[in-house]
Structure formats: structure tokens, C-alpha cells
């Protein structure tokens, strides 16, 4: 435990005043020219920029993305293998069994998973992520995954990713041995706000699973949500801690308040704040895949979706989410074509 704590990032608490003086010039010189990520104070200064500065901020973030990640956009589909009935109490999630959400518990069978993987591949996607609403996988779920991964790999040319909650070292290695390409486990929130979001496990446990995933050689997908009532400082903290963790991919979710959850009555995040987050996360993570995840349709709409793709985002989830619906995949693909952003080929994902 001591070793784990020693490896965790420390978040500065000093005033951002100095860093905020001309943060856009700093971002251009430090991140764009030298490729060095922003510090906590600098991320905070980005999040405090005005609406008048937003266009320039997004332009810098886009230049950073293009220089260090290129024009390609990674496309992914996600699917729920086991929906609902989760014992955890993540306050944003309609799948917790602790809330009065209308989501009923259900398992998807393997033929349906394979069918969904094929349809996802047909969109040009290179990644198909299987998700289960659990604290962590038990033996039954691991066996389901083994069968599902084998069935998909036997008939669909697509990378298989997984998100099954907290892992021990043996489970992480087992998933890597199955051929799981990337494992998702979000920090969800900055460390200081996390206890307001989840009480059934700790931020440290999530950090530990992330380290176990990296140790196996699987790519780590780790992001979080914004718009959950956190302060701007705590938003900056999440971006800074993700920068310290160095995941391969960061999925950025915007809270979509779900009926029956503790966060069900929170307001939808203003679009300009969401766009500032996108730019800030890109500048905190210049060489990381930054993916549009849940909530973008509600928070940003069509115009904001375009602005985000021109402001640091270089990956999308196409189609539906786990309990909510997304845009028609063809609309996203047409937008990428219009923006001259080619879909990343499967052969470029290793």
C-alpha cells in the first residue's frame, strides 16, 4: 500500500494566477512546440479561459492533436454484456442496483455479441469494447469473456477491448492472454471529488487496477466524467492525474443525468465548458487518444461535436452507448469525411 501511494500523483494546490497570465501562449510554446503536457496549474488556467478565448484555445488543442496524433480518428463500438444490477454506487450510473433506476438486469448472449461486433466493424471501427456492470469479474464472467472473445476473434477482424471493473493481477493477465487489446477502467473523477461520486470503493483501488492493466501489456483506457458537480479545480485535478497515469486512451464523458440516480437532477454541462474541457484534456495529454464518450449528444449537439473534433478529440464511440442511444453512426462518419479526418485503420492500431 505504501508503494502504491508513493506512485500516485500529487496535485498542486497553489494559485493558478501566474500560469493564467497568458496560458494560450504557454500552451502553444510548451505543448505544441515542445510536446510537454500542461501542469495542474496550467490546466486550471485553461479551464478558466473566457468564452472569447475559446476559439483560439480549441485551435491550439487541434494543432497539438494533429502534430502528435495525426488526422486519423479511432472509431469504437461498445456493448453491454451484463447490464444493470451492479453492487457499486457510482452516482452517475443507471446500472447500479442501489438506486431506483428503471434499468433491468440482463445478459447478452454470445451470438448477439458477435453480430454486434460485425456490425460495428462494418462502420470501419477498429475497436469493440465489451462492458459488464460489475464490481469486478467473477469466474462465470471470466468464462463468458473467454468464450465471447474467441467467438468474435474467430469471425470478425476487430480489436476486442473489455471493461469489467476492478481486477486482481491474475485476472488482468488472464484477460491479456485471451487477447484483450485494451482494458477500460476509468478514474471517473479527480481524487478529491471521487468520494462524492462513489462510496463502495476507492479512487486508490481504481488506480491500482489501472497499474495492473499496464503491467500486463494491455493498452489502458482510462478517463472519467465531467459535469458531476465537481469544481473546476477538481476537473483540472482529473486531467492532471490522467496525465500522470499515461493511459493509451482517455474517454471523456459528459454527465447525462439519469433518472433515479443521485446525480439525476444535476443540470447538463454548458457546451462551452465541455469544449474547454476537451481542449484542456488534450493539452494535458498531447500524445493520448482522446475519445468522445457518453453525453456528447446532449451536452454538445451536432455543432459542438464538430467543434470538439476540431479542438482535440481524435476518437469516437459510434452508435449507441450502454443504456442510452447515440447518433446514427453514418452521421458521425459523414462528419469525419467532411472534416477530412480518416478513420484509423485496424492495421494502425498496434
Amino acid at each position: 500500500m505504501t508503494e502504491q501511494v508513493a506512485t500516485q500523483p500529487t496535485t498542486a494546490t497553489t494559485s493558478p494566477t501566474d500560469a493564467a497570465a497568458d496560458i494560450l501562449a504557454v500552451a502553444r510554446e510548451q505543448v505544441l512546440e515542445r510536446g510537454e503536457r500542461l501542469t495542474y496549474d496550467q490546466i486550471l488556467a485553461v479551464l478558466q479561459t473566457s468564452d472569447e478565448q475559446l476559439e483560439e484555445l480549441l485551435a491550439i488543442a487541434h494543432e497539438v492533436r494533429m502534430r502528435y496524433m495525426g488526422p486519423d480518428v479511432e472509431v469504437e463500438g461498445i456493448i453491454s454484456l451484463k447490464t444493470g444490477g451492479c453492487p457499486e454506487d457510482c452516482h452517475f450510473c443507471a446500472q447500479s442496483g442501489q438506486f431506483t433506476s428503471p434499468v433491468r438486469s440482463v445478459w447478452l448472449n454470445i451470438p448477439e455479441l458477435v453480430r454486434a461486433a460485425k456490425l460495428t466493424r462494418d462502420t470501419g471501427a477498429s475497436e469493440f469494447c465489451i462492458v459488464a456492470a460489475v464490481r469486478g469479474p467473477d469466474a462465470k464472467l471470466m468464462e463468458q469473456m473467454r468464450a465471447a472473445v474467441a467467438a468474435i476473434k474467430g469471425s470478425v477482424d476487430i480489436n476486442v477491448a473489455a471493461s469489467l471493473g476492478m481486477l486482481d493481477a491474475e485476472q488482468a493477465q488472464d484477460l491479456a492472454d485471451m487477447g484483450i487489446h485494451r482494458y477500460n477502467h476509468n478514474l471517473e473523477a479527480g481524487r478529491t471529488y471521487f468520494p462524492n461520486v462513489v462510496t463502495t470503493h476507492t479512487w486508490d483501488e481504481r488506480w491500482e487496477t489501472c497499474q495492473l492493466v499496464k503491467a500486463t501489456g494491455m493498452e489502458l483506457c482510462c478517463g472519467g466524467l465531467v459535469g458531476m458537480g465537481e469544481t473546476i479545480e477538481q476537473r483540472a485535478e482529473l486531467a492532471d492525474q490522467l496525465g500522470e497515469l499515461e493511459p493509451h486512451e482517455v474517454p471523456l464523458n459528459f454527465l447525462n443525468p439519469r433518472p433515479g440516480t443521485p446525480f439525476g437532477d444535476l443540470p447538463v454541462m454548458p457546451a462551452n465548458d465541455a469544449l474547454r474541457c476537451i481542449a484542456a484534456f488534450r493539452l494535458a495529454l498531447p500524445r493520448t487518444i482522446l475519445r468522445y464518450a457518453g453525453g456528447r449528444e446532449l451536452t454538445l449537439g451536432d455543432l459542438g461535436t464538430r467543434d470538439g473534433l476540431m479542438g482535440g478529440i481524435n476518437a469516437v464511440i459510434v452508435g449507441n452507448y450502454l443504456t442510452t442511444l447515440g447518433r446514427d453512426p453514418q452521421e458521425d462518419l459523414a462528419l469525419l469525411d467532411e472534416l477530412k479526418m480518416p478513420i484509423k485503420a485496424l492495421s494502425d492500431t498496434f
Binding site: I79, A116, L119, V318, N320, Y321, L325
Partner: protein, 77 residues
């Protein structure tokens, strides 16, 4: 577009009774807007919570009494 069914009694999103305005108006206007980005969760005939399965390209919602609704047969209002 037309209402899901003239016999619909309950809101497919919140499960509360539909008024004379149906799902397109009154207290369920918010539900109607939300259903652009959500599948139905409650059976509109009996208010049972349905078993909903979502894939990247489609969804199904099944009531044990009234059968299955799919994306292709669904038109909330």
C-alpha cells in the same frame, strides 16, 4: 409522426400515467425529448419495467406480457 399506440396508458420513460396530451405534451414533454436518446424502459400498456438490450446499432425492449418493441417499430410521438 403518430403516437406509439392510441391505447398507450403509461409513459415509456418514467412509467407515470399519460394524460390527455399523451407523451407529446404536458408533464411528459421532457420525457418525449429524452426519448430521442433513450430506449423505452416501461411498457406503455402495463407499466412493467421492460428488459432492454442495446447494441451499437439497435435496441430491443421486451415486456413479459406485451412482447417486444424494436427500434424499427418504435415511434414515440
Amino acid at each position: 409522426m403518430t403516437l406509439i399506440s392510441p391505447d398507450a396508458v403509461f409513459c415509456p420513460r418514467c412509467g407515470q400515467p399519460l394524460g390527455p396530451a399523451g407523451i407529446a405534451g404536458g408533464e411528459h414533454a421532457v420525457c418525449r425529448r429524452a426519448l430521442d436518446l433513450e430506449p423505452p424502459r416501461y411498457c406503455v400498456y402495463c407499466r412493467r419495467r421492460m428488459i432492454v438490450q442495446i447494441t451499437p446499432s439497435d435496441w430491443t425492449a421486451r415486456c413479459i406480457e406485451h412482447g417486444e418493441t424494436t427500434e424499427s417499430t418504435w415511434a414515440p410521438a
